[in-house]
Symmetry: C2
Subunit: 636 residues, 2 copies
């Protein structure tokens, strides 16, 4: 199925997106308005993103000296145009209230629509950080911060970043060394600090696509002794704009104006002031995602002194010490977005290799009966067949389909839970929250590992041509390799899952998930063709329960978590098996016979080829195998 057909099936035949329009927040929507959004995004992605995916890979962003002695970033024109078209579509504010210029779109539809962009060009389509940044301010910023910063991000005039990592502390936020010292507690934009430190891996940290850039920066406020507290507790969050801002006169009213702008997020008249003390130190050159600007930023080194002083001006968001809580507020969505990037890259490779397999001829079919010599023969007098007529090519195609469509379904299921969390009944919202806690590590990790493997199969189907830069599949594979690393590595997701998510609130998240799976199993048992699969899923689910218990039976975290990654791999396979049973049940209602056969085929593939793999992964978790952890360092 092409992506649009798959989305239609998932949204309407499976997740009943239309039902959301019964809720007050989405009451003005209908399937028609949802479809219009999908149409628009599909078109912009086709016209402004896809044709330039190779170009942005080849013409990487480059830093060159600017007139003021700093470094500026030069980008291909295509990147500017794609960003402009995206902003113009209104998708930056898709989820916002009507009164703030938003669309009040369900997150489910927003996520589905954004899939077109990441499939067309994952490294151009990086506007999601701006949305995440502005969403965070809508949740934790003051009304004035919202009207000055978030509103100008939603309308596309400004862009946003997330500045967490530092060169010496990648995944380890407790080692953040950026310092923030109070300068003026009464600034209307928020308590004003001066920041000094270096931030690494900052996407879109410097560019000229927008008038301003809103950096959200994690930094520590030193204690009375001038020292930074160890751990994550001392971390606070700051808005650090590239250009300082002047808000409508010298003493703007920080309170929302009733009538003009409702609760405070309509943009105020803002003029840009001098450059803040944030300087591009360099660009990172990566294996993939080469169209994305990835920067090392120096805050407060004195390159652009403000009022004659070194130190980047930053405005506190939320309370001191509350930085991580604010930042992680948007973590589920950010991780779903990574999973979505992985899965759309997988789908792009699937589509390319399916197309290739349907058109390229290569070799002959096997004779079905082996020759007397015992060797399998081919009949050279026959004309060559298309690649798709070879069994192993079909295996590699179906593996991609089962991986990518299954993962896409999981991601949209999670997106639907986000909507439930925001607009459902209190019980439904609470259940959705807990399910998201458990499912998010899978939604992020499973596609990033398995859709990467799907991309490798797409290369394999192309043979030698797939290994050249004349075909798109090698780029998909390179791009996809990032997804196991950013937004929390595989190892961190696994520790989050087994160390926390399946255990919080007495394991209630896992219990809720098991109940949903059980409901699917019961539905499937009623179907002739699915009761074997239902039994397999029931057995797998039981194993997950046993092994989760066994992992923690010793009460020792380092022992339990030594095999957290194999646990997560198995858990992910069980979740995707459940999703496939769901999809096969939903497929019964679809009109297209080919689509139904494809969905049922992919489900069968997953149950026959993939689900049995959990045995090997779970074995070491259950045994709390310490072969790796116990090996002396000098023995490696």
């Amino acid at each position: 199925m092409i992506l649009r057909d798959t989305l239609d099936f998932l949204l309407y035949d499976w997740l009943d997106a239309s039902a959301l329009t019964a809720r007050p927040r989405f009451a003005e929507h209908s399937r028609d308005t949802f479809d219009a959004v999908l149409d628009t995004c599909e078109r912009i992605a086709r016209e402004k993103y896809a044709p330039f995916n190779r170009l942005v890979d080849t013409e990487e962003p480059r830093a060159e000296p600017a007139a003021d002695g700093s470094l500026r970033v030069v980008l291909p024109r295509a990147t500017h145009e794609a960003r402009a078209a995206y902003a113009e579509s209104g998708m930056l504010a898709a989820a916002q209230d009507y009164e703030h210029g938003g669309m009040q779109l369900p997150y489910l539809v927003e996520a589905a629509a954004n899939a077109f962009f990441s499939k067309a060009s994952v490294s151009i389509g990086s506007s999601l950080l701006t949305v995440g940044n502005a969403n965070l301010l809508m949740a934790h910023g003051t009304p004035l911060q919202q009207r000055v910063f978030a509103a100008n991000e939603f309308n596309g005039r400004w862009a946003g970043t997330m500045c967490l990592s530092e060169p010496q502390a990648g995944s380890s936020l407790s080692d953040v060394a950026t310092r923030a010292v109070l300068e003026d507690g009464s600034d209307p934009l928020g308590a004003r600090y001066r920041l000094k430190g270096n931030k690494m891996w900052i996407s879109s940290g410097e560019h000229e696509m927008t008038e301003n850039i809103v950096h959200l920066v994690l930094a520590k406020i030193p204690g009375p002794d001038g020292k930074l507290a160890p751990g994550v507790k001392g971390i606070s969050l700051f808005i650090v704009p590239k250009f300082l801002v002047d808000v409508a006169g010298p003493h703007p009213d920080p309170l929302p104006q009733a009538g003009e702008g409702g609760d405070g997020s309509a943009p105020l008249r803002v003029t840009l002031g001098p450059r803040n003390d944030v300087a591009l130190a360099g660009l990172n050159h990566k294996l993939g995602w080469r169209g994305t600007i990835n920067t090392l930023l120096n805050f407060g080194e004195g390159k652009f002194p403000v009022d004659g002083q070194a130190g980047a001006v930053g405005y506190l968001v939320g309370q001191p010490g509350d930085g991580l809580r604010c930042m992680f507020h948007m973590m589920n969505e950010a991780r779903i977005a990574v999973g979505m990037a992985a899965v759309t890259l997988g789908l792009a490779g699937y589509e390319a290799s399916l197309d290739y397999a349907r058109t390229r001829t290569q070799g002959r079919p096997l004779r079905s009966s082996a020759s007397a010599a015992g060797a399998a023969g081919k009949d050279a007098s026959q004309p060559p067949v298309r690649l798709i007529e070879h069994a192993d090519i079909r295996r590699m195609l179906l593996a991609q389909k089962a991986t990518c469509e299954g993962a896409l379904a999981l991601l949209l299921y999670c997106a639907r839970l986000v909507d439930e969390q925001h607009t459902g009944t209190p019980e439904a919202a609470d259940e959705a929250r807990l399910l998201l806690e458990v499912l998010t590590p899978i939604a992020k990790s499973w596609p990033s590992e398995n859709a990467l493997e799907a991309n490798s199969l797409a290369i394999q189907i192309h043979g030698g041509y797939g290994y050249t830069r004349d075909f798109p599949v090698e780029q998909y594979w390179r791009d996809n390799r990032l997804n196991m690393i950013h937004e929390g590595t595989h190892g961190i997701q696994a520790i989050d899952l087994l160390g926390r998510k399946v255990r919080i609130e007495g394991g209630r998240g896992l219990t809720l998930l098991a109940a949903r799976m059980q409901a699917t199993i019961e539905k499937a048992q009623a179907h002739e063709g699915m009761h074997h699969d239902a039994a397999a899923l029931a057995a797998a689910l039981e194993r997950i329960g046993q092994v989760t218990h066994a992992a923690w039976a010793g009460g020792d975290a380092s022992e339990a978590l030594a095999n957290a990654v194999p646990y997560m791999q198995a858990f992910g396979h069980v979740v995707i098996a459940w999703i496939w049973l769901e999809l096969a049940l939903a497929a019964i209602a679809t009109k297209s016979e080919a689509a139904r056969a494809g969905l049922v085929g992919a489900k069968t593939y997953f149950y026959h080829y993939e689900l049995p793999k959990i045995g090997a992964w779970l074995r070491v978790v259950e045994n709390r195998d310490t072969t790796c952890a116990a090996l002396p360092e000098e023995a490696f």
Copy 2:
């Protein structure tokens, strides 16, 4: 272990390379002479290859117009110098007789020594095609062909290529469309033909590193009706030199001269004539192996007419129609070389990530007891620990070690079989031949799939830094992706294994392999710490036998082979499990306690984490699962 220590263990503690010196061919060798070769190769690789691995990736070969209107290839100076150092080392003629300037080195030692080059820079270290080309001529060429062409390849003055694939026929040699028409059956260099056609994926197809290039070209001789016969039977093999050659006067004696050059491979005085009608049509730009020149060559298009006529001059090697047999004579060694490239890339990544894990600090250790809240905690007041102190990092390191050292051992085991085939007793030689038939598809496929995964783990250990081009691991991963494609794709290896190799001679190859495994199992049963593993290997071996039988029980090749790849994956895991049991037994005798712990740890890792995976793969083979093959095309 570093590579040299691993090689020492494998060659001397395990494979008893010294015993080869008891054979007449190797009688003048000793461990000292073997070590001297290893020393030299290690040094050249360190000085001339490793420092330039990133440079040759960045400064790809480029084609530019030459004075004569053709395209010439420009390479970095480092590539010229590396090639010169390699030629000077004598390694091109390592296996040749003393009287032809060779070293009469066992293939085992040659393969081990070449590992240094592919580990240092796989895409510079591509001299193996020249050796393969010349070896083929030593087996199938006339004495004069050997003295003119092979001898000048062994001494490094000329280089060689293998021209099999064509743009329309990648893996499908039966579709070769290059035509060869007889011009003069009495040329002393061999029956002279004129060739016309296009050859794709030709490594080192054009360059100026050597005075001449000897292309070995597969082409079809048309029948009396002017048509090319279908299938592979009509394929013949031709020597097509880039520059035509004049051999010592107008009528050289084609027979070997007794005394001066023995049996015909000592070089004659040869002068280079005019350019032959072979033209570079373009360079392929790949995901990896960017230091290697990969070309599309046009033969006989008239760019360089010979005697006023279009058509590349080629000299027949062997008999008409015998081309494939000649070409595949060297196939086992060529495939072992691909496996070696894969495994050395894996080892390079392992070494880099081990080094990184030992020095980079990141995060805190887990508290061993979980907190009351049920979440696993970290103590931020502790200083950060080195990456290698995290259990998941150790898991990823040990996975790489188990994969790469195990695969290296298999490859050297195969190399040792090549020596046995050439210098063993008739029975031993025959047994070695059959074992190689069965093991070669594994020696090629298993490292190319699994060492690629090891490279991915090396990236993962580096976190975000591993994804940048500032660290070497992303290049290893890109380079390694080729190995599942060239020299017979994964799919082709799998069909070769299950369709032919386990069945030829009534399955005697498989029986021989099983007997060797059984011998290892019996040795291991005697050891306290290994009898569990011995039992696991015995059970796995039995499963392989059952499933092989079940796959063919229906007698239908297309059904049996539909899951040939999962079969090969499982078969490979069983072979590597066997190798690890062998290595753990050999480790008992080693002097280094750390090395012993490492080998036993890697063995244990493989038995606990990897071998259990065969269940899922074998299931679909045993069931002759047709989920993929049977899915209607429109359902994808």
